[in-house]
Subunit: 147 residues, 2 copies
DNA sequence: TTTTAAAGTGTCACAAAGTGTCGAAAAGTG
DNA sequence: CACTTTTCGACACTTTGTGACACTTTAAAA
C-alpha cells in the first residue's frame, strides 16, 4: 500500500512504454504523484518518485562547480538522469537512450524496492540472479559489518 | 519541469544552429527566458540561462583585483564568454569560434545538468564517458567526503 | 558608395517520436 | 465458474526533430 515490493514480469510496447502494475500505481497515488525520475545504474533503470529523488539530488547541488572533479562528477551524474517522466494512463515512457542502456526490448522485469522501482531487461535480470542469488548470505554478513 | 536533465543526441544544421529538445525549452519557459549565455570550458560549451549566469559572474566579480592572478583569471574568464545568445524558434545559434573550440560539426550531445546545459561534440563526449563513466562510484565517494 | 560574399534568420514540410483511447485477452477473485 | 480487474497490443493522432531553402543582415572588397 505505501511502499514498492515484489517482482513483476511485463512487456514494453512498440513505442517504448511500460504499463506499471496496479500495485505500484496504488503506492504512487497514496504517497507520491505522477512525476517520476529515471536513473541509469548497474545496467538497469531506477524509477524514483520525484520526492525521493530530491533527497538524492540535493547533495550534488551543494558541490562547488569551480572544481573540475566536481564538474566531471556532475556530468556523469546528470547524464544518467531523466527527469519529469510523467505517468499517464498507467504507462510510463522510457526514452530511447535509457532503453538502449538497459537493453530493454520486449520482456522486462520490474522490481519494487521500498522507495524505488527498478526496471531490468529480463535476460540481464535472469543472469544477475543466476550469478548472485547464492551470494545472498555472504553479502548479508558484509552488510552487517557496514552498519 | 524546472531543471535540466538527461542527455540528448541532436544535429547541428549547416548554419551552426541547434534545436533544443522540447524538455529544455519547457524549463526555459517556466523558469527563465530566451536570453542565454555561452561559456567555453572543458572542451564543451556551457549554456547558462541569463539568471544563472549572473550568479556565476557575481562570484568572479567579488574576487579582489589587487592580485595579478585574479586579474589574469578574469581576463581568461571573459574571453570565454558569449553573451546574449537568443533562443529563436527553439533554435540557438552557436557562433563559429565556439563551434571550433568544442569541435562541433554534425552530431552533438546535449547534457542537462540542473541549472545549465552543456553542448558536446559526440566524439568528445563518447570519449569522456568511456574514460570516466566507470569512475562514477569512486567519484561519488569522493564527493560524499567533500560535502 | 556599390557590389559581393558570408553569416545569420524565418518558415515549411516530411519523418520520427511520443500520446490517448479502446477493446480483447489474461489474470485474479469470490 | 462467472465476474471484475489488469495487462497488452493496435491504431489514429499529436508533437517534436531535421533538412531545405529563401530571405535578411552584416562585413569586406572593389
Amino acid at each position: 500500500m505505501f511502499s514498492f515490493s515484489g517482482t513483476y514480469h511485463v512487456f514494453i510496447d512498440t513505442k517504448g512504454r511500460i504499463n506499471l502494475p496496479s500495485k505500484f500505481i496504488e503506492v504512487l497515488n497514496n504517497r507520491y504523484n505522477n512525476t517520476l525520475v529515471l536513473f541509469k545504474i548497474d545496467d538497469c533503470i531506477v524509477i524514483y518518485p520525484e520526492k525521493e529523488w530530491e533527497v538524492y539530488e540535493e547533495k550534488v547541488l551543494r558541490l562547488s562547480s569551480m572544481k573540475k572533479n566536481v564538474r566531471d562528477y556532475r556530468r556523469i551524474f546528470y547524464s544518467r538522469v531523466q527527469k519529469d517522466c510523467i505517468l499517464k494512463h498507467g504507462k510510463i515512457l522510457i526514452p530511447q537512450s535509457l532503453r538502449e542502456y538497459a537493453n530493454l526490448n520486449r520482456e522486462v522485469v520490474l522490481l519494487g524496492a521500498s522507495t524505488i522501482i527498478e526496471i531490468w531487461s529480463k535476460e540481464i535480470w535472469d543472469e544477475f540472479i543466476a550469478n548472485n542469488d547464492d551470494k545472498f548470505e555472504e553479502l548479508a554478513e558484509e552488510m552487517a559489518n557496514l552498519g
